[in-house]
């Protein structure tokens, strides 16, 4: 039957993309384990994986450094991509993202302030940082939403977002002026954005926050699809628009806050990866895009992290530097392409 063929073609494409992304994920994971200042052969790694931890330096490198780092890059990369996709669904515009709307900078500001002024009184566990980042994200999201009611034009809203981002950075810089030497080192290190130096506790925190948030996001696929037609149509189909919008914003903020708290602000992944995913899938169906974007985000960040720590080894680049180099051109191309198509 014709329609079955069509339906199968859609699903076939999805399966194909998922398989491709899984293959890339495995390659990326293997490279991340093997490549570095200490190069390990596949056999050595397989040996270590088979026999478990031992006291050797290699074991320490694989289990305590590379593995948690790679897990974190994968989880947070995926979370960032999904966070971006949620924001894009919210604004019904593919150029929305946590970084360009200043939401990541808001998270950074509150985390920075927390690091400087509360470092003495509370322990800065990953969970505390996530809470601080979540508060910062929500704060800036609220500001952006306030503006979005006045400015209907998305490009203008982006400018507002970027400006708000600068204000947040300025506040962060101001806070740094009053910080102690040790805090500054910590803050600088963190605020540049990196997956390095994170232990398993960060991975566990990330997994505990992102897993339920990602599942919840996927469960919002159905109303997200309806909402793509606009509020009026969504309402007419039975979507409770207000709670739905709130859920989108909370989930998106939580995911991007988790990333910012654990790895610092990472730019452009939230826009570039969902765009690439939609293009690969040739579909915007949220039920398909969310899992694919998660995988693509993981792959993207794993490769970016690999580049960050190997290209100028032993000096490491910020992860944000690498994601910008690869992500920003995608975003530019996308905007140009949209303009061109809108002009037709």
């Amino acid at each position: 039957m014709e329609k079955d063929k069509a339906a199968r073609r859609g699903m076939g494409r999805f399966s194909l993309v998922i398989c491709l992304l899984f293959a890339l994920l495995i390659i990326a994971l293997a490279l991340n384990l093997a490549v570095g200042s200490v190069r390990l052969s596949p056999n050595e790694i397989l040996d270590l994986l088979k026999n478990g931890r031992n006291a050797s330096t290699e074991s320490l490198i694989v289990f305590n450094i590379r593995m948690p780092r790679m897990c974190l890059a994968a989880i947070l990369g995926g979370a960032l991509a999904v966070s971006g996709f949620l924001l894009q669904s919210f604004f019904r515009n593919p150029i929305a993202g946590p970084f360009v709307l200043g939401i990541s900078s808001g998270a950074k500001m509150i985390v920075g302030i927390t690091m400087i002024f509360l470092a003495g009184s509370i322990s800065l566990s990953p969970a505390v940082l996530v809470i601080a980042a979540f508060i910062g994200s929500l704060l800036i999201t609220a500001v952006v939403l306030l503006f979005s009611q006045k400015v209907r034009n998305m490009e203008l809203l982006l400018v507002v977002g970027i400006m708000v981002g600068y204000i947040c950075s300025a506040v962060t810089d101001m806070a740094v002026t009053f910080a102690s030497e040790q805090d500054i080192v910590n803050l600088k290190y963190w605020s540049m954005g990196t997956f390095s130096g994170k232990g398993w506790d960060s991975v566990v925190t990330a997994a505990l926050i992102c897993t339920p948030a990602l599942i919840a996001s996927w469960l919002l696929s159905k109303p997200m699809g309806a909402y793509a037609l606009g509020e009026g149509y969504a309402k007419s189909m039975g979507v409770a628009v207000k709670p739905f919008r709130l859920a989108l914003i909370l989930l998106s903020s939580l995911l991007s806050a988790c990333v910012t708290a654990l790895a610092g602000p990472i730019s452009f992944v939230g826009i570039a990866v969902p765009h690439i995913t939609r293009t690969l899938l040739k579909s915007s169906k949220p039920a398909l895009v969310i899992p694919a974007a998660f995988l693509a985000g993981a792959v993207f960040c794993l490769f970016c992290d690999l580049i960050a720590r190997t290209v100028f080894s032993p000096t490491e680049l910020n992860i944000g530097t690498v994601t910008s180099i690869f992500g920003a051109p995608v975003v530019i191309l996308m905007m140009v392409d949209r303009r061109r198509r809108a002009g037709q």
Binding site: K3, L229, Y233, G238, V239, S284
Partner: protein
């Protein structure tokens, strides 16, 4: 007996401020009700309230006897579907996927379409004749095609009541007539009840069972198109000052040029329309005659000529009218012969022509 769709003492508006009150509508199943009225008169506000997008300020809206505002969102979604004026721009949606969204109130938590759902989507695509567009990207379609897809999506909700806000906006005449024919088909053959708003009063009168005129704070008229357009002339409803509207044919004429006639048009049997339109465009005041009252030329002359000589139908033209026309003609600078044949009843026009020729007034020879 209660009608399928009813409003009683309904008042609508925004933020608690009433725009239109005392709206009482009764519409039977399979009927089409069209809201007409000037821009900004509140047609959309009424439709939004009926579609439950906007809370009613007072009064009730009932569908099959149950109060609309007491139903759950899902119940409403299964009963009624909408076509809105806001233009949608979903990226990377195929027509089939977009129409599939209409199954929303029937699908499970992740929105998975069952075989039944897919069959219904196919039926809806076939109903609006866009089966061959099923795999196309929605954004690549023309406005006419898009509107069909949006209608198909609404139909996929399997509604009993269809609410459409200016569904013919952006459409050309072909797509307008096709859309309205389709709505008539759905109403008569499928028992679909339709409430919509239209800007084209002529089409509204032809496509609807009932018309509702919105003007000012209340409903200005409600009834069959015939009743409504006779009780409330379109010129009055739209405060038309620079033109006129013929309710029987739905044709619009631009403003007539008043003043002492400079040209006399000898017309009849529709031959005079091009000459009269051309004089109107040049803003030349003119007279027309001698026309029988049942002649199309007479209808147009009444709307465009600054004065005209009209004779009763089915009678030879009286000498009195001939004299009147002669005086009027001799007061003009020139005379145009529209080319109407001269027969037994209008032989008076033949005499006028001869006189004009004699005096050298006849210009188009």
């Amino acid at each position: 007996m209660t009608a399928f769709f009813e409003t009683n003492g309904l008042a609508v508006g925004y933020n608690g401020k009433t725009l239109i009150r005392d709206i009482d509508i009764a519409l039977n199943k399979g009927g089409i009700l069209t809201l007409i009225g000037p821009n900004g008169s509140g047609k959309s506000t009424i439709l939004k309230t009926v579609a439950r997008q906007l809370a009613a300020i007072r009064g009730s809206v009932t569908v099959e006897g149950s109060e609309l505002f007491r139903m759950s969102a899902k119940e409403v979604a299964k009963k009624q579907a909408v076509v809105l004026t806001e233009r949608i721009r979903p990226e990377l949606y195929t027509v089939r996927d977009l129409v599939g969204l209409g199954r929303y109130p029937y699908t499970n938590i992740v929105g998975r379409l069952t075989d039944d759902d897919r069959r219904i989507v196919d039926e809806c695509l076939a109903l609006v004749h866009i089966k061959d567009l099923a795999e196309r990207d929605f954004m690549t379609l023309s406005d006419g095609q898009k509107q069909r897809v949006i209608l198909a999506r609404a139909l996929a909700q399997q509604p009993e009541l269809l609410v459409l806000d200016e569904p013919t906006a952006y459409l050309d005449i072909k797509h307008k007539t096709e859309l309205l024919s389709l709505l008539r088909f759905l109403a008569r053959e499928r028992g679909m009840t339709v409430i919509m708003s239209l800007h084209e009063i002529d089409l509204a009168a032809k496509a609807s069972d009932l018309l509702l005129c919105v003007k000012g704070e209340t409903v200005a008229a409600f009834g069959t198109p015939d009743e409504v357009l006779r009780s409330l002339p379109v010129e009055e409803l739209y405060e038309l000052e620079k033109g006129s509207y013929d309710p029987d044919f739905g044709s619009v004429e631009l403003e007539k040029t008043e003043g002492k006639p400079r040209v006399f048009v000898i017309a009849g049997a529709g031959h005079g329309i091009p000459a009269m339109r051309s004089l109107q465009r040049e803003r030349v005041p003119f007279a027309a005659g001698i026309l029988f009252e049942n002649d199309v030329d007479a209808r147009v002359a009444k709307k465009l000529a600054s004065s005209c000589v009209i004779a009763p139908a089915f009678e030879p033209i009286s000498e009195e009218l001939f004299e009147k026309a002669k005086t009027l003609m001799f007061a003009c600078e020139k005379v145009i012969d529209a080319g109407t044949p001269v027969g037994t009843f209008n032989e008076a026009n033949g005499r006028l022509l001869a006189l004009a020729r004699e005096k050298g007034l006849l210009k188009n020879e």
